[in-house]
């Protein structure tokens, strides 16, 4: 490879600016820092705590049966965020948390790109029924990404956790599939029966 050639990241999900891919060991230091930045994370993340989780015998690599971490990397290289995806035994239902490094000049563009790329990836490969993201209410930029990507506010839980010393609300933003929107139970409820 030419020494001047820029490394192009490849991922499961590829947006205009970023890719989403599984976390590699080389990402851990950056990921620990990003986890600590996310106000939704109640744990004080350290590199050691994250490394232990990464080396878990049952679910190594932050890639488990019910919870998986994606690194969000610039297409030209460099981890700038993460997305934590969870699901359970109910088919096609996912709930997530995400974070893009605070203070980046292009944070708004990266965040929207990451959310849109993730949604496209799920639609292409996993036939989701519904996909949700939890966001703390003061995180307006994250809310903006989700709304622009087609997610809508579904549930607000007041006084959920401390943010800068104050009780704050957690908001759930959700994308619904056509299959869910057209399910009989949904129609009955919409009709108010």
């Amino acid at each position: 490879m030419d020494a001047n050639e820029t490394k192009i990241e490849k991922g499961f999900a590829e947006g205009e600016h970023v890719v989403l891919r599984p976390v590699l060991e080389a990402d851990l230091a950056e990921l620990a820092r990003l986890l600590a930045e996310n106000p939704l994370e109640a744990l004080p993340w350290t590199l050691q705590r994250l490394r232990k989780k990464f080396e878990d015998k049952d679910e190594p690599g932050l890639w488990g049966k019910s919870q998986r971490y994606f690194a969000i990397a610039r297409r030209g290289g460099g981890v700038v965020g993460y997305l934590k995806e969870s699901d359970d035994s109910n088919r096609g239902m996912y709930w997530n948390e995400h974070h893009i490094q605070d203070g980046l000049e292009d944070r708004a563009a990266l965040g929207l790109d990451a959310v849109s790329a993730y949604l496209a990836y799920k639609q292409k490969w996993h036939n989701p029924l519904r996909i949700s993201f939890d966001v703390l209410r003061p995180e307006e930029m994250k809310i903006d990404w989700l709304e622009q990507a087609g997610f809508e506010l579904e549930l607000t839980q007041e006084r959920i956790m401390l943010y800068l010393g104050q009780p704050e609300a957690r908001c759930l933003y959700t994308w619904f599939s056509e299959e869910l929107l057209s399910a009989p139970a949904w129609e009955e409820e919409e009709a108010g029966s």
């Binding site: 109640a42 109910n90 579904e154 007041e158 409820e189």
Partner: protein, 187 residues
């Protein structure tokens, strides 16, 4: 920190042994819930869960025995979720043997659990979650002092159809107004 709360009709207390815990869970799982469907956890998993601290571990999960005061029978399980620094909420749940359901015992069990939670931890809110078609649970939560917050659409599948999950909450201020605080016995 108290771990026994007694009301007028029921008492919450720690399980006295691993056998007591697994036996009631066996009985609860024998009859699948009409609303939540069949549920199974292997014995080994539950025994392991009991071993470290008798299933009372605020950092992860706690389960209390619900005892009927008139007969002394163990009739169900009251449970709550993790309590972590900086996090101002947790959830609670109630499971009763079928023959003791719909007698208003769950209302008191929930209120006793709320006393334990709000008196012992710096929580601001306690949530309870059920499914939209579970009308007895919805009524029971309202009787216990909870109020409707919202729903997650199609989060649960029952009878092959998506069913909404319903969220209820009670705040610390709302709990402070409940009469149970005046008659609960601790310890």
């Amino acid at each position: 920190m108290h771990n026994i709360y007694t009301g007028k009709r029921v008492r919450l207390r720690p399980f006295s042994s691993s056998e007591e815990y697994t036996n009631i869970d066996d009985k609860l799982m024998e009859v699948p819930s009409e609303y939540w469907g069949p549920h199974w956890r292997p014995l080994g998993e539950r025994t392991e869960e009991y071993a470290p601290a008798g299933v009372i571990d605020p950092a992860s999960y706690s389960a209390y025995a619900i005892e009927r005061l008139d007969t002394g029978q163990l009739i169900g399980v009251e449970e709550h979720g993790s309590i972590r620094p900086g996090v101002l909420w947790t959830w609670l749940g109630t499971h009763f043997l079928e023959q003791h359901q719909r007698q208003g015992l769950g209302t008191e069990a929930k209120q006793l659990m709320l006393c334990g939670l709000f008196e012992s931890f710096p929580l601001e809110t306690v949530y309870a979650i059920t499914v939209a078609n579970h009308r007895p649970a919805l009524r029971g939560l309202e009787r216990s002092g909870f109020r409707y917050v919202g729903e997650k659409r199609g989060m649960f599948i029952a009878d092959g159809q998506p069913v909404d999950e319903i969220y209820y909450v009670i705040t610390r201020e709302e709990w402070e107004q409940l009469p149970v605080r005046q008659y609960v016995t601790r310890g």
